[in-house]
Point group: C2
Chain length 376, copies 2
């Protein structure tokens, strides 16, 4: 009879369980800067001394500021010598706004590097790990890789596709309405859900609406101070039929970008916002421009037509839907999404990772859209 | 300083905790016949001997069969003498299809009766309790009254309003669509949710659709054998524009009732179903007729226009909404509810008791509508 393996003992032998525990801590550290690091990723790092005791912690707080590894190593000082660094993303090997982290790790005398996720940035992409191995350090990869990829999904998506991660949000009644037939929509959700929207904005680099939302709701679109600076407010307008006065044209609280297609030189445009002429007034063109401006994650807070266009053009990766316990009814009442062009049930968009949580008396549903072929 | 009360001791003193435990058992027994007892209520009963030991259990299985008390007393036999009966609903005091239970309780030599809910049936309404007290028995009332009222909400509603409890069910995509723009709706939800619908039907006395659903979906509307007999299938038609062939016209599996307004003598109607002429082809008229036929609970599985009418006429007390992780889109795609006639957010229908549970990969949301003034 064969001896039965003891899986727990095997894990301990490989040290996996130990690294998993520390990596979870590093992921927690990274999460402290959620929504603040663009265009950079979220990174957390933990340094253990040669005996395995915690001697340093760090996270990347903001682009231009120290990388996570550098902060954790600085905290550890001489105690890092012969020790281990646990880091959620492969240390960089290129000179950016800060020197390469792989060199800092080597110079600190670290013996072992534990990495969750390889950096998809083509300037790194395994080069950091190679540099460390070439210098004689032990490198363990793939520890909590799935969790790390999920945490940095916005950064990874932007690096891989050239477009920020798109989050589409709406609030609707239980019967799927986002407004009454006369357009009235304030408020469908209760105060706790509206406070949550401010937090959601704080985790995004830009908030996008169409001209119709400016005309109908005259929204402010800030995080109410939960993020500093406030996320950029973006209006994507096709018609440029915009009101002369709007809260978004006042840029004292937050910046506003007015994006439109070509050939609008003769239209009187509001003076507050920055103007951006795109090749076409389409979600995809806008997102390429926002990626170039360093956006990792954008929030679509638009009406049904623009939302449907954004979905069709692969500009929405994630959904956040607030369902309020109300019935609105109305044959002509607004619904969340306009035309998607489907005529059979096997064509519709299947969502994954459906989640549900309470938001006061409302219900928050989350989901992911399918990954589209980035070459399409 | 005042002595602090010990709530546990107080409860024990009053015996409440002990009766609560046995009442919970009686409620469990009652639930075994859910959906089977109409027009009667669900009732469960437990008999303890003079020393407090369990000697009998019973529940009401079906109208015309023994009441719960009678079954439990029969099981207890002579051991009921000097004992206690715990029963979810006040014992009846009138001669119906079976003799009054209050007399059976007295004749068995029971000393104490513990009741959850007073029977709202005007033929009882406290009379059973009075008869027991007059005979010298101790009667304790109101134990788990809220739970008992919830369990028998359909019966109580029918007795109080003269209409069965209405449950409105639909399945929709995350963007609130119940069909594609071309009407295609099979299937929005996944097999586990469709199996749940059969169970839902098994708990109802009738399943109601409009003519539009017959024309569009040609549904079968049975519980697939989960209930025997199958719930009555009801078509409420205004236009009587009905297809000559339909699964519902074949009554070998389940009965079908075709309800319509007056003045349809000249229309060729399908021969299988029973015909019912109402004063008007309206949800309220239909429900009064169904209550008269012994329905405690009906399931609305209709399209948006009839559903909205049913809601407006106070014929819907409960909602069951399946949300599938899909995006359908479509400006003209079907939504769950037609016109409700609201023009301001403070007019819309507030729901209560919102609940959420998983149904395979789909999500099931439940809610209650506000109690309307039954005199309106």
């Amino acid at each position: 009879m064969a001896r039965r393996a003891n899986p727990a003992a095997e894990l301990m032998q490989a040290g996996s369980h130990r690294w998993t525990l520390w990596m979870r801590r590093a992921l927690q550290l990274a999460a402290l800067a959620e929504g603040q690091t663009s265009p950079n990723p979220l990174v957390g790092a933990v340094v253990l001394d040669a005996q395995g005791a915690l001697v340093g912690e760090g996270f990347h707080a903001k682009a231009g500021q120290a990388h996570a590894e550098v902060g954790a190593l600085a905290q550890a000082g001489g105690r890092a010598k012969g020790g281990t660094i646990i880091v959620t993303l492969e240390p960089c090997c290129h000179q950016g706004r800060t020197p390469p982290c792989s060199e800092a790790v080597i110079q600190a005398g670290i013996q072992r590097v534990v990495v969750a996720l390889k950096d998809p940035d083509p300037r790194v992409a395994g080069g950091g790990i190679q540099r460390l191995r070439d210098a004689g350090l032990e490198v363990i990869t793939g520890v909590l890789e799935t969790e790390a990829a999920h945490q940095n999904r916005a950064f990874v998506h932007r690096v891989q596709t050239g477009r920020p991660w798109g989050l589409l949000k709406w609030a609707m009644s239980l019967d799927g309405r986002t407004a009454l037939p006369n357009g009235e929509s304030q408020w469908i959700s209760a105060p706790p859900a509206r406070g949550w929207v401010h937090q959601l904005r704080a985790g995004c680099d830009a908030v996008i609406v169409g001209g119709g939302t400016v005309r109908a709701d005259n929204p402010l679109l800030t995080s109410r101070g939960a993020r500093s600076p406030e996320p950029m407010r973006v209006v994507l307008s096709r018609s440029l039929d915009l009101p002369p006065q709007a809260q978004l044209w006042d840029t004292s609280l937050a910046s506003t970008l007015l994006a439109h297609g070509p050939g609008c030189a003769d239209r009187p445009l509001p003076e507050g916002p920055e103007h951006l002429e795109l090749l076409a007034s389409e979600p995809l063109d806008l997102l390429h421009a926002l990626a170039a401006r360093g956006c990792n994650r954008v929030l679509w807070e638009c009406g049904p037509s623009l939302a449907a266009e954004a979905v069709k053009q692969g500009c929405v990766q994630e959904l956040a839907v607030v369902i309020a316990p109300k019935l609105l009814g109305g044959q002509s009442a607004r619904t969340p999404l306009g035309e998607l062009g489907f005529s059979a049930m096997d064509q519709v968009i299947p969502l994954s990772a459906l989640s549900a949580e309470w938001l006061g008396g409302d219900l928050l549903l989350g989901a992911l859209t399918p990954v589209l072929d980035p070459t399409v």
